[in-house]
């Protein structure tokens, strides 16, 4: 069966390719028809608004000439009517009608201040003119990429385009969800969420941090189906196409340089609502008196106790007096963990970036060679060094044959830093009064797993020191990463005719990375493991050790290997009133990822040595007494994904006004366990464009350019882990050492592809004098048969209570607009604005069940996609709040009446949902940015205001059970109900013992903890100065120095609380100060 279907696929494609070849031949004949000659010459004069440059003049029909140094030109034409097109670098293109051929043209050229007019759009497969694209593409030039500093290219895109949203605080377990970015919102619930990243025409599978933003010339964001469908099944979330800098033919040798320094402020840990140390210690005292710690105190092995509980216990055992204890407790109350962390571990993060490049080109050869070096010091003293070398070359071997090559090399070395805030716990509890140094400045001990009193004496002093010193530990134990990457490609193009070429491209990527977690012999990590596997003979006092003395090195090596081979036929033909741009191609891709790891004990780097440990037999854990094996750290994996794709893309333009485009692609992949039919997925898209302003009836002089466009297309998505046959993973059982086959999920043969369709309608416009340009588009996305976990009767397979099924449909609509305006220009002063606006509302329109109260599933923090019919993908609902009762209990509603029966409240919530209030989206419905640019003489000043409107967020509430079990306190504790009457002034419930998790849960999920998250923030302010070197006899062409501040924080918010609505429960991003210089000579 499978074979039969497959061969029909083949045939279909053969026919398509064959017919396209015939078409191409046909077009080439048509092109040879000569036009009847009309001997006419158009003459004119060009006036520039600024300095003079040479302008190029052309007509739609073959005419071409350059202006002389005075701006005069003459140009022969062959046919009437025609259009005169005047272009000059840095100026806006002018189009003038030639009707009689006798006109004398006086053309005034206006400087192109926005530079948004990137003349060509690169989709990765081909370069198209803006009017040949009917889909939605945003272009970000290298200037805009420089507005923000930092070493990550994706961070620099934010605020510089429409349609791109950074998902803050969202936690999805989806495959491929690393970037945290979404283009036009999500199109899936459980499928991949990352946009596809393409570098110089090929999918980039490496670490995005390896790409140096300095090497990127432009970024093209393909947003809708028509734009993205050329990239196939993985483009459902949009595509970010990066193009790197290259040399140009006939270009003078140019040397560019840049240097910048980014200095970060210290993180604002004090904004974290940490419970006060005094409150915390009093709470511990209360719990101590209730006997909460007794099990811990009395059971071996003795688990760690906090310093306050140690003191309380000492007093109870009569080892210290009550006065001494109170003294000790008040000293502890003075300590603030936040200060301890800041003093000990935090520092100003620094990012230094340097680059040097040379580029140039002759008639047949051009090149670019650049090197850059980034040095980073992290906020907790981590460090990293990155070097990039970029060599790109173009060579015209003969008139017909040309070759482009590129090699991009990255070398990255990094080392982890100290512990971050709240990463150190005492016996599983966080403490607000941790301290890392004693009064004399010596590193102090923190009991992390067991009580020091116990570990110090249990082996009568014969074991290694069993103490943990956080202030020292990270110097002795840390992860070092070293990674090298080569991303290379070559593209050989053979011109069959002027308008037809065939290209063969090969891309190769190799990324090698080595992670080593090395804990030296002095680290707690090593000492602890050695002691754990030690035994002592109580009579002879001889210690035997199963883990050899020395350091422990845990290494893993990953290599990623990918190649792409692509054959493509490119047609670009203009004849008479027609223009055709088409490609047909076939592509094979393989991505192989291998890793292996192991642990070496008794390890010393110098002289390099290690000792074998016994991984086979179990040894007694000295403290717990259980039999355990020494962790071997051995891991092995090898995965290979293969893709085979066939694609075609055609854009046909008639009279420069009407454009029709269509693209078609079929992807196959080696999904394991899938039958052949499931391996292929055909995708298509089509679009139409109309240059309304090109029509004769178009008379709006104030709006000289108006283009309408529409596109529609499909993309798809399949969960590679869900296959028709049940799939097992081989491994070995630890206890029996027998090979096992682990069934990781049950097979669901009825699973279908997710299907995502998108309709996009847009317009591009330009007001007279190009004072105002922009585009607006409206889109509709529809996702059908989306995967979702549906609860099911797990009697059939107890491995999970949910089963992935095609459970849902979603629909989203949105509006995107970008407007670029030259507000004011006078002499040396210029003020312009770039504004971006997005509206996006994605809703679930079908879900497997609507019987139970669907609102109930939205009760939570809104940080993961939760499908509820008619509600946004990310949304928040909460229990209605009836205040605190006279005993400080939080009240919800039960049958419309205030109640403290939390189980019944939750039951009503899950059945009728009457006691739940729906608040709204948890992801901004409206967002965007506004960038104002001011230029005066050589000075430039710009600032970006970004806004996120129309959404809600939930604060982390005080939970007494979390406080008791995990030490997770909250400054709200001070505001808790303590005495009758307090219910009038506070919403924080009273403390009750035994704690009631249902009560905590109700309060956490009640509406009092949900806030409106709308905010406007000042993203950056940049100041630059361009040296005017025009008249100097120096070789320097231009030099610019700049400085800026990033992440200035919230300047307006809807909530009155003193919080950052986007970072309610995490530490907000630090401010960055940027200084830099760049130039060329």
């Amino acid at each position: 069966m499978g074979n039969l279907n497959f061969s029909t696929h083949e045939k279909k494609w053969d026919i398509l390719l064959a017919s396209s070849a015939i078409l191409i031949l046909l077009f080439s004949f048509m092109g040879t028809y000569a036009q009847p000659a009309i001997p006419l010459v158009v003459k004119g004069n060009i006036v520039f608004s600024d300095v003079k440059v040479q302008a190029t003049l052309s007509t739609k029909l073959n005419g071409r000439a350059n202006s002389d140094e005075n701006g005069k030109f003459s140009l022969p034409i062959t046919k009437l009517p025609d259009t005169l097109i005047v272009t000059a670098i840095g100026y806006r293109t002018e189009r003038l009608a030639i009707i009689t051929g006798k006109e004398e043209f006086n053309v005034e050229l206006i400087m192109d201040v926005f530079e948004l007019k990137s003349v060509e759009i690169n989709t990765g497969y081909q370069t198209l003119k803006p009017n040949e694209i009917n889909g939605s593409v945003s272009v970000i030039s290298s200037d805009k990429l420089n507005a923000r500093g930092g070493s990550n290219i994706l961070d620099r895109l934010l605020g510089q385009t429409s349609g791109l949203l950074m998902n803050i605080g969202k936690s999805e377990s989806n495959v491929m969800n690393k970037t945290g970015l979404s283009i036009r919102g999500a199109g899936t619930f459980n499928g991949p969420l990352d946009p596809l990243i393409v570098l110089d025409g090929f999918i980039y599978e490496g670490d995005i941090d390896n790409i140096n933003p300095n090497d990127i010339e432009g970024v093209y964001i393909l947003k809708d189906a028509a734009a993205a469908s050329i990239w196939g099944a993985r483009a459902g979330n949009g595509v970010i196409v990066l193009t790197s800098k290259k040399g140009k033919f006939n270009q003078k040798t140019e040397i560019t340089f840049s240097a910048s320094q980014l200095i970060a402020s210290l993180p604002d840990l004090y904004a974290v609502p940490q419970m006060s140390s005094a409150d915390f210690i009093e709470f511990e005292r209360d719990m101590f008196s209730r006997g909460y710690y007794n099990d811990r105190i009395n059971s071996t092995p003795y688990l760690a106790l906090s310093p306050a509980v140690e003191l309380l216990l000492k007093q109870r055992r009569g080892l210290v007096s009550a006065v001494q204890m109170e003294d000790g407790l008040s000293q502890l109350k003075e300590i603030d963990s936040r200060k301890s962390y800041l003093d000990e571990f935090y520092t100003h993060a620094l990012t230094a970036q340097y680059s040097l490049g040379i580029r140039g080109g002759g008639e047949n050869y051009s090149y670019l060679l650049s090197g850059s070096f980034d040095k980073l010091k992290g906020g907790t003293k981590s460090s990293s060094k990155k070097m990039n070398i970029n060599l790109s070359q173009s060579l015209n071997i003969t008139k017909k044959l040309s070759l482009n090559t590129k090699i991009y090399f990255t070398n990255l070395n990094s080392r982890s830093g100290g512990p971050t805030y709240n990463s150190i716990n005492v016996g599983g509890r966080l403490l607000p009064y941790l301290f890392f140094r004693d009064a004399d400045g010596n590193p102090s001990v923190i009991q992390t797993s067991y009580r020091s009193e116990y570990t110090d004496t249990v082996a009568i002093g014969k074991f290694l020191n069993w103490k943990y010193y956080p202030a020292e530990e990270y110097k002795h134990s840390g992860t070092a990463v070293s990674s090298q990457e080569i991303f290379a490609n070559a593209n050989l193009v053979y011109k069959i005719f002027d308008f037809l070429n065939v290209s063969a491209a090969y891309q190769y990527q190799f990324q090698y990375s080595k992670n080593e977690l090395y804990s030296d012999e002095n680290s707690y990590a090593a000492r602890n493991l050695i002691n754990t596997f030690s035994e002592i003979n109580r009579i002879t006092k001889v210690v035997t050790r199963a883990v050899p003395l020395g350091g422990i090195s845990n290494q893993s090596v990953n290599d990623l290997n990918s190649y792409t081979l692509r054959g493509q036929l490119n047609l670009d033909k203009t004849f008479a009133k027609h223009r055709i741009n088409a490609i047909v191609g076939i592509e094979m891709r393989e991505l192989r990822s291998k890793s292996n790891g192991n642990t070496r004990y008794g390890y010393y780097p110098d002289p390099l040595s290690y000792t074998d440990a016994d991984y086979v037999n179990a040894y007694r854990n000295f403290l717990s007494g259980s039999q355990q094996k020494i962790p071997s750290g051995i891991s092995l994996s090898d995965t290979r994904s293969r893709f085979l794709s066939k694609y075609a893309n055609l854009a046909y333009t008639f009279l420069d006004k009407y454009t029709a485009s269509v693209s078609l692609r079929e992807d196959g992949s080696n999904i394991f366990g899938a039958s052949t039919n499931d391996r292929f997925k055909p995708l298509w898209s089509a679009g139409l464009g109309w240059l309304l302003s090109g029509e004769e009836f178009y008379k709006l002089a104030w709006l000289p350019k108006l283009r309408l466009k529409a596109s529609f297309g499909y993309s798809g998505n399949i969960d590679l882990s869900r296959t028709a046959l049940s799939v097992g993973v081989y491994s070995t059982n630890d206890l029996s050492s027998l090979p096992i086959t682990r069934i990781s999920g049950i097979n669901n043969p009825s699973l279908r592809w997710e299907q995502l369709s998108q309709l996009s309608i847009g317009t591009e416009f330009e007001f007279k004098g190009a004072r105002l340009t922009g585009s607006i588009s409206y889109f509709q996305k529809r996702g059908k048969d989306l995967y979702g976990p549906a609860p099911y009767d797990y009697t059939s397979w107890g491995g999970s209570n949910v089963l992935v099924r095609n459970v849902a449909d979603m629909a989203s609509k949105g509006i995107e607009a970008d407007v670029h305006s030259l507000n004011f220009i006078s002499g040396q002063f210029k003020w312009s604005t770039d504004a971006y606006f997005n509206f996006n509302n994605s809703k679930t329109v079908r879900y497997y069940t609507s019987s139970s109260s669907s609102l109930f599933s939205l009760v939570g923090n809104g940080n993961s996609i939760t499908p509820v019919i008619g509600k946004p993908l990310y949304a928040i609902a909460a229990y209605k709040w009836a205040g605190l009762d006279a005993a400080g209990n939080p009240m919800g509603y039960l049958n419309g009446m205030p109640s403290i029966d939390y189980l019944a409240i939750s039951k009503e919530g899950s059945t009728t949902g009457n006691n739940i209030v729906y608040l709204g989206s948890a992801s901004p419905l409206y967002y965007g940015s506004m960038i104002n640019n001011f230029h005066w003489k050589q000075f430039g000043l710009s600032f970006n205001l970004s806004y996120r409107i129309g959404y809600y967020a939930r604060r982390e509430a005080l939970s007494y059970s979390s406080l008791m079990d995990f030490g997770k306190g909250n400054s709200d504790y001070a505001l808790r109900w303590q005495k009758p009457g307090d219910e009038q002034i506070t919403n924080v419930p009273s403390f009750v013992y035994p704690v009631n998790t249902a009560r905590d849960g109700f309060y956490a999920n009640s509406e009092v903890n949900v806030i409106k998250a709308d905010n406007i923030r000042l993203d950056y302010i940049n100041l630059s100065y361009k040296f005017d070197l025009k008249f100097k006899s120096m070789a320097l062409r231009n030099v610019e120095i700049y400085t800026g501040i990033q992440n200035l924080g919230v300047i307006w918010k809807a909530t009155k609380l003193d919080v950052d609505p986007d970072y309610l429960n995490t530490i907000k991003p630090v401010k960055n100060f940027l200084f830099g210089i760049r130039g060329a000579f």
């Binding site: 497959f6 494609w13 053969d14 390719l17 070849a21 209730r290 909460y292 007794n294 099990d295 059971s299 092995p301 054959g567 036929l569 076939i586 007494g625 259980s626 039999q627 994996s637 090898d638 995965t639 290979r640 293969r642 085979l644 992949s669 080696n670 999904i671 394991f672 366990g673 590679l720 049940s726 799939v727 097992g728 993973v729 081989y730 491994s731 059982n733 206890l735 029996s736 027998l738 090979p739 086959t741 682990r742 069934i743 049950i746 669901n748 609860p791 009767d793 797990y794 009697t795 059939s796 397979w797 107890g798 491995g799 089963l803 059970s961 013992y993 035994p994 704690v995 009631n996 998790t997």
Partner: protein, 446 residues
Amino acid sequence: MLLLVVIVTGSCKKYLDLKSNAKLVTPHTLADIQGILDDGELLNLKTTPSMNESSADDFFLLPATFNSLPVSFQAIYRWQPNDTRFPNDWSLGYQAVFNANLSLDLLENVERNSANNMQWDNIKGSALFYRAFHTLNLTMQYAKVYNEATADADLGIVLRLSSDFNVPSVRSSVRNCYQKVISDLRAALELLPVYPVHLMRPSKGAVNALLARTYLFMGKYQEAKFYSDEALKINSTLMDYNGDAFIGALTAAIPFKKLNPETIFYAEMGQIQVLHTATRGRIDTTLYADYANADLRKTGFFNLVSGYPQYKGSYTGATSVFFTGLATDELFLIRAECNAYLGELTAALSDVNTLLKNRWNRSVVFVPVLGTNREDVLSKIRLERRKELLMRGLRWIDLKRYNREGANIVISRKINNQLITLPPNSSYFALPIPSDIIEESGIAQN
């Protein structure tokens, strides 16, 4: 160009046939299927039900411990209906049952021949054994005790006999549940080797032992005696607690090693909702008082913490993990109980004393269990059963079957100075089925 296309498309099926992950298989060979049954983490380790032990009376919670527990855990301790959701004993048990059913389904596609019959039989026998083992464990927790008169009407658990998840869940009768366990085990008996390659794998010894246990639960003492006898013919080793390679110092935190010679089949109790673990639970002080001072189990099984005994005697080599597999000590006690019930008092006392001699301090004169009255001997043996097999997931079913025979045992708990009791005829002895199972499958709650 066309030529290239033809070449590429022609070879593309092969190109995409490459395995995407070197570790993946679509299980179909005997080795693959054996691997499904050797997945100890799903079939043996921390998988058997624990809520029954947390509901039984061998332990209690100190007030401070009780008060520190979440309300949902307190409900279990109070024998109140509770809202248990995934993951739980039900999911653990049925995950193991799935592996057994999937193996049986996959095995149908593999032909048994002279070259593979040993392996083939072992797989079939193992799958049947695992299905029976986990079905029995779930039945003793979620169903009423087997009662000949009402077994057709009493609701048992869901019998799953295929890996197809589209088959809806229906509760079978208690009789059908026990009958299925027995028929699976009888079939397995013919197929399995006498001794296993590893103690996590089933064997003839394990099948006999499990049949003995099943018949004992049903109150069929003749059959239980027969199968305990069969099992003891294969292995009747008892460790002498005075000194054995698998026993460390009895005073140590963990005296017994796992996979010791008494073990016939190794399995462990699940840990999802447990109240009885050593850190929380303390052993019933009257039970503790029943151990003679010369009884080595008094030091080997318990650790006194502030005067209260903590259990540490599990055959798992860990304090917080409990052994729930099959072992020779249980078989001696099953045979003894059957003989006593059937009036064979000499044989009964001989078995129980054989066991106890191995638990008795060698330097102190052994005091045997004696008796001439059937009721007296039976109750003494049942006390010895409780003393030897505590924390093995057996007390709950023992309470049920003793009450079936009219023992009229009322268990009680003292919670914050309030006495709570569970009457012998309480329907709570069939523990509540998880709420989400009731919601999704629509089966009846207990």
